[in-house]
Symmetry: C2
Subunit: 292 residues, 2 copies
């Protein structure tokens, strides 16, 4: 009977743990797939990957890794001999991780070409988050699927995923006043509200379609953080498309205690009978934006 | 003739600069409004504010300040005697700063109740960004307009605005894997593309209406940062609503060299004749998402 997939840290295997070979990983759920670089699939997600030198296009910067997906390469030479596809189970699993924030265990093998690779065997590099996915032509001329992963484990001597992401794309590290910043950070609870509504916006019913699945955002009714101090709970969360999320946060519209929309949007909020919204939060939002 | 409004640092006046009184600020454009706490208006923005103890509801955490807007208070007692309004020129100016990323010079007076206030006179606290605005009932029972400002100056011994914003709303500082993060960071050039299209999405023509003006986002065609290395230039930027921005970034649709939309969206991209888009960037985006 195959072991169930497990995401996150495996007890007893710390960051930096050394394995003599691939078979030493197998007795636990750490990496269950003998021979394959990716342990996972599109239904469950991908829980672990091995950087083994099997792909010529991988890039490893330590806390940030550009990883080439699975498929289309010659296992003997590592050369691409065919295009890669998003429907490959390991690649589909990594897309699911990106969309749902599932962490990926990254393992470096001795044949992987980087400053961080062990001289022999394999080392556990820690938990990473998938933050980007795209296709390009690899060195071979064939299409490859690529993923950008950033370290997201608990080791606070390393950069956090948020810090890595904030720095990413900033060419000039000099501080420049005059930037408008909008951060959407969805935790596990936001995923619950999205699943409850099947990613449909509770205002307009739209579910944003992307090649890797539907997209929506968790909108806090009473904002998190000082001085509002709203809760990160289902009673304070709505599932919204990005447009209505911006409009709600900025007070273009508000919601009555009996779920009528008021302001720039009219009609009724879509509310599942399993979703218990705290009307104190709705009232707080209305008062914040001049509706009460 | 009144001096023109100037945003950002004023040469010769460093962070921590001490002024004996309000009139010492006046010879420069540092703070031009004798007696008023806020120097600015809704057309130009607000360039400077004074925390003078005139408002009972201000809160000062150093790099993060909750500031009460102007209007409705008794200048002698500091007590609110009437509601505040967003149409007050200083408040409208702070909203413009929030929407356009204009920096605000913050000055603390000796009557302002905080650990950071000088014993006498006034000190310059540095440049801040307005990151949130809302209304609430003040201690007096009257409505007040409130702004959250975060330090955004160049002093790197202090927290950056981005760091303050990332920490904001995170109740538990422990690192938690499993967060989906989306950062929209619009610089001055993004503002140019938004103004060119009057905040209308180039895909659907929508301009998101908010109480403080229209909202849209600058979408980079070829992404910034490694390994894509796109430019932060008009030739690589499009004006989009948040929904189409997400869809474009995730490859739900792409754009041909003659500006036809392909994929989940059809029709033509709206392109102003003054907007020179680099078709190499469009091609890069198509290849990234399997359209070419």
């Amino acid at each position: 009977m195959p072991r169930a997939i497990v995401f996150g840290e495996i007890p007893g295997i710390e960051e930096g743990h050394w394995f003599e070979g691939r078979k030493e990983m197998m007795p636990t759920s750490f990496h269950r797939s003998w021979g394959a670089g990716i342990d996972g699939n599109g239904n469950e997600g991908t829980s672990a990957i091995v950087l083994s030198g099997g792909y010529e296009d991988d890039k490893d910067l330590g806390d940030e890794i550009i990883y080439t997906g699975a498929g289309g390469n010659d296992p003997k030479t590592g050369k691409q001999v065919a295009d890669q596809s998003w429907s490959n189970r390991g690649n589909a699993g990594l897309l699911k991780c990106m969309n749902e924030g599932l962490p990926v265990r990254v393992i470096r093998g001795h044949k992987h070409n980087s400053d961080f690779s062990p001289k022999s065997g394999y080392t556990y590099a820690g938990l990473y988050s998938v933050v980007d996915a795209w296709q390009e032509k690899g060195k071979s001329g064939h299409k490859i699927c690529r993923f950008r992963l950033v370290y997201s484990g608990a080791n606070d001597t390393r950069k956090s995923a948020e810090e890595t992401e904030l720095d990413h794309g900033v060419r000039d590290k000099k501080r420049i006043a005059g930037t408008v910043l909008r951060i959407v950070r969805d935790t596990k609870i936001a995923l619950d509200v999205k699943n409850l509504y099947k990613y449909k916006c509770q205002v307009c019913g739209t579910a944003i379609k992307t090649p890797s699945g539907f997209y929506s955002e968790g909108a806090h009714i009473r904002p998190l953080g000082k001085p509002h101090n709203g809760d990160d709970s289902l009673a304070n969360l709505l599932c919204m498309c990005p447009n209505h999320h911006v409009m709600f946060d900025k007070g273009s519209f508000a919601i009555t205690d009996d779920y009528k929309l008021m302001g720039e949007v009219t009609g009724d909020l879509l509310v599942d009978k399993k979703h218990q919204i705290d009307t104190n939060n709705l009232s707080y939002h209305r008062k914040s934006h001049g509706f009460d």
